[in-house]
Symmetry: C2
Subunit: 351 residues, 2 copies
C-alpha cells in the first residue's frame, strides 16, 4: 500500500484531503501530515490512527509514493524536493499548472494526460474544474466555440480565514454593530467587507484588467481540453456564501444542441448530476412570487451541495441570443471536486 | 404646481418615491398617498406635511396630474381609472411595459418616447434600467450586437418582505439556529432560503426555461433601444445582499471599442459613474491575497451604492474571447435608479 504525505494538512483543503482519502477507502500505508512550523506537534485523528503533524522540510518526502500539496507557497518551496525523492506530486497550487511539462488533470476529462507526468501533476483551479465538468459532455457532443462565465464564489475559497472573516462580520452585524467597522478590525482576508456584499475581484489583477482567477479559468480550461483556440471570457466574483462555487455559463457550440440533448449528455457524464426541472409556474400567482406556486422548480444551489463530491448542473436552456448555444448554471463544492476529491481521483489513476 | 398621487405608498418602492420627490425638490401641490385597505389611516411624514394614507379606489385619482404606481397588482386594477381621470400615469409594474401603445422610458436614453404617451408611461424593470444605463454609451459609440448578462440581485428587489426574510434567517443563524428550519417558519418570500445561499431564480418560469425576470431584461432592453434585433441572453440570480443589484455584462459590439474608449464614453454619460481603477497588484504578494497589497483596486460594490441615484460601472475590459467586445460590472440601487428615481425623472420630463 502506498505511503502518502499531505503538505498543508491543517488547512481547509488539507482537511478535505483527509476526509476524501477516508471516504474513498484509499489504500494507505504511512500517512505523513506536514504543515508549517506553527502547526508542528498538533495531532490529527484519521480513521483509527492519531497522527502528529510534522514541519515540512526537504527531507519530509523520503519513502513517500504520493505527495499531495494543498496549495500556497509551500508548493514553490517543496515540490522540487518531493519530486527528487521519487514521489508522484499532486499539486493544488497554481505554481506548475501552466508548465508545458506538467499535466493538468481532471480524471473524468483527460486522465491520459496524467500518465505522461514527470513527477508533478497539477490539480486545476476550483472554478475551472467545476465549469470544465459541465463543458466536457457538450464539447464531446458538438464542440465548443466560445464560453462566457460569471462566477459566484464562496468565502471558503480563501481558506479557513475567509470563513472566519465572514463569520466575524455577520456576528458583529447580528449584535447591531457596523459591518465596515468590524471589517476594519478584521484580518482583511478579502479586500472589502464580504458580509451582505458582492466583490468582483478574486486574486490579483493582471494584464487587460483581468484578475488572475479569471485568467486561470481561461488558460487552464484551454489546456485541459487541449483546445488553445477555445474562446473564454470570465468574470470571477466573491459572494457571502460559506461553501460551493456557483457559475452562470453561456456556451456557443459548433453544432446546434437542444437543451434536452444537453441534459441527456450531462446525465450520462460521470461525476455530473443534473438538477433541472424548470416546470412552468402559473402566470397568475397573486404576487408574481414563485413561492406562491405549489410547483417548485429544481436547480442547484450552494446551500445544498456542500460536502458533496459531484458537480451539479441546472437551468439548462437554449441561448436565445445565438443560433447555436446553451446557457446553464453549475454548482460544486470547491473544496471537494474543486480541490481534494479531484486530487485524490488523480492519485487513484495510479493504483 | 402639480397634484401627485402615489399608489403603494407604504411599500419599499413607495417609500423611495417620497424620498426622491423631496430630495429633488419636485414641485408638489397636493400629495395623495394611496395603499391597500390594510394601511388606510396610517400617517406618513413628508417634508413639513403629515399625510394620511387612503385606500386606493377608482375615485382616488380625481384632480391628480401625475399618478405613480409602485408596482404589483394595484396597477392592473387601477391604472385604467387613473388614465380616465386624465392623469399621466407612471407605472412601475410590468403590466403595461410591453404594450406597443405604452412608452417604456429611461430619461437618459429615450426621453422622446415619453412624449408620445397615451396616458401611461411604463418604468422599466430594475435590472433592465441598471444594465441599459451602461449599454447606452456603447450603443451610441459603436453599436451593440449581442449582450450576455448574469445578475446578482438584492433581497429588497422582492420588497420589504424580502429584507425581513433575510434578516430573520441571519438572526436565527447568529443565535446558533438552523437556517433551513428558520426558513420553514418564515413567510417564504423566496422559493428557497436566501441566507448564505444563491438562488438562480427570480419571478416565475416561462418558455424555454427562462424566468420572467430574464425575459424582461431581453424584451425591455430591445424596446427601450428600439433594437428588436439586439441579441440578449440573461441569467437572473438572487444573492444575500440588502440593496443594489450587480450585473456582470459581456457585450459584442459592431465596431471595436477599447476599454479606455468605453470608460471615456461612460464617464461622459449622465447618471453613470465610472469606478474603475484596476491597478496591477504586485505578482509577489506573499499569499496571493490582494489584501496584502497596499495598492487597492476600485470597482463598484452593492455595499457602497445603496441610497444613491447613479449607476456605477467598473471592471471595464476588452473581451479576450471576441474581436470586438467588452466586459464590465455594473451596480445600482434598484429601488432608486432601478425604480423610484427613474419614475420621478420621467415626471420631470413634463414639468
Amino acid at each position: 500500500m502506498p505511503n502518502i504525505a499531505i503538505v498543508g494538512a491543517t488547512g481547509a483543503v488539507g482537511a478535505e484531503f483527509l476526509k476524501v482519502f477516508a471516504e474513498r477507502n484509499f489504500p494507505v500505508d504511512e500517512l505523513r501530515l506536514l504543515a508549517t512550523q506553527r502547526s508542528r506537534g498538533s495531532r490529527i485523528r484519521w480513521r483509527d490512527r492519531e497522527i502528529e503533524v510534522q514541519e515540512t522540510t526537504e527531507e519530509s518526502f523520503r519513502g513517500m509514493d504520493f505527495v499531495l500539496f494543498a496549495g500556497g507557497s509551500a508548493s514553490t518551496e517543496f515540490v522540487p524536493a518531493a519530486v527528487t525523492h521519487g514521489a508522484i506530486v499532486i499539486d493544488n497550487s497554481s505554481a506548475f499548472r501552466m508548465d508545458p511539462e506538467v499535466p493538468l488533470v481532471i480524471p473524468e476529462i483527460n486522465p491520459e494526460d496524467a500518465m505522461g507526468h514527470k513527477g508533478i501533476i497539477a490539480n486545476p483551479n476550483c472554478s475551472t474544474i467545476i465549469m470544465a465538468m459541465a463543458l466536457k459532455p457538450i464539447e464531446d457532443a458538438v464542440g465548443i466555440d466560445r464560453v462566457v462565465v460569471s462566477t459566484y464564489q464562496a468565502v471558503s475559497g480563501a481558506g479557513r480565514a475567509g470563513v472566519t472573516e465572514l463569520d466575524v462580520l455577520i456576528q458583529a452585524w447580528a449584535r447591531g454593530e457596523d459591518v465596515e467597522k468590524a471589517y476594519g478590525e478584521s484580518e482583511k482576508v478579502f479586500v472589502h467587507p464580504i458580509a451582505f456584499n458582492i466583490i468582483p475581484h478574486i486574486d490579483r489583477f493582471c494584464e487587460g484588467g483581468y484578475t488572475n482567477e479569471e485568467l486561470k479559468m481561461v488558460r487552464e480550461t484551454q489546456k485541459i481540453f487541449h483546445r488553445p483556440d477555445m474562446r473564454i471570457a470570465a468574470t470571477a466574483v466573491r459572494v457571502p456564501v460559506w461553501r460551493s462555487h456557483s457559475e452562470s455559463v453561456t456556451v456557443e457550440t459548433k453544432v446546434k444542441m437542444s437543451a434536452e440533448e444537453a441534459r441527456e449528455a450531462m446525465r450520462a457524464f460521470p461525476g455530473l448530476v443534473v438538477q433541472d426541472d424548470p416546470r412552468n409556474t402559473p402566470a397568475d400567482t397573486p404576487s408574481g412570487n414563485p413561492a406562491d406556486s405549489p410547483q417548485k422548480t429544481i436547480y442547484p444551489m450552494p446551500m445544498y451541495t456542500a460536502d458533496l463530491d459531484e458537480v451539479f448542473v441546472g437551468r439548462i436552456r437554449e441561448d436565445v441570443s445565438v443560433e447555436k448555444g446553451l446557457c446553464f448554471w453549475v454548482v460544486g463544492d470547491q473544496l471537494r471536486k474543486g480541490a481534494a476529491t479531484n486530487a485524490v481521483q488523480i492519485a487513484e489513476l495510479f493504483l
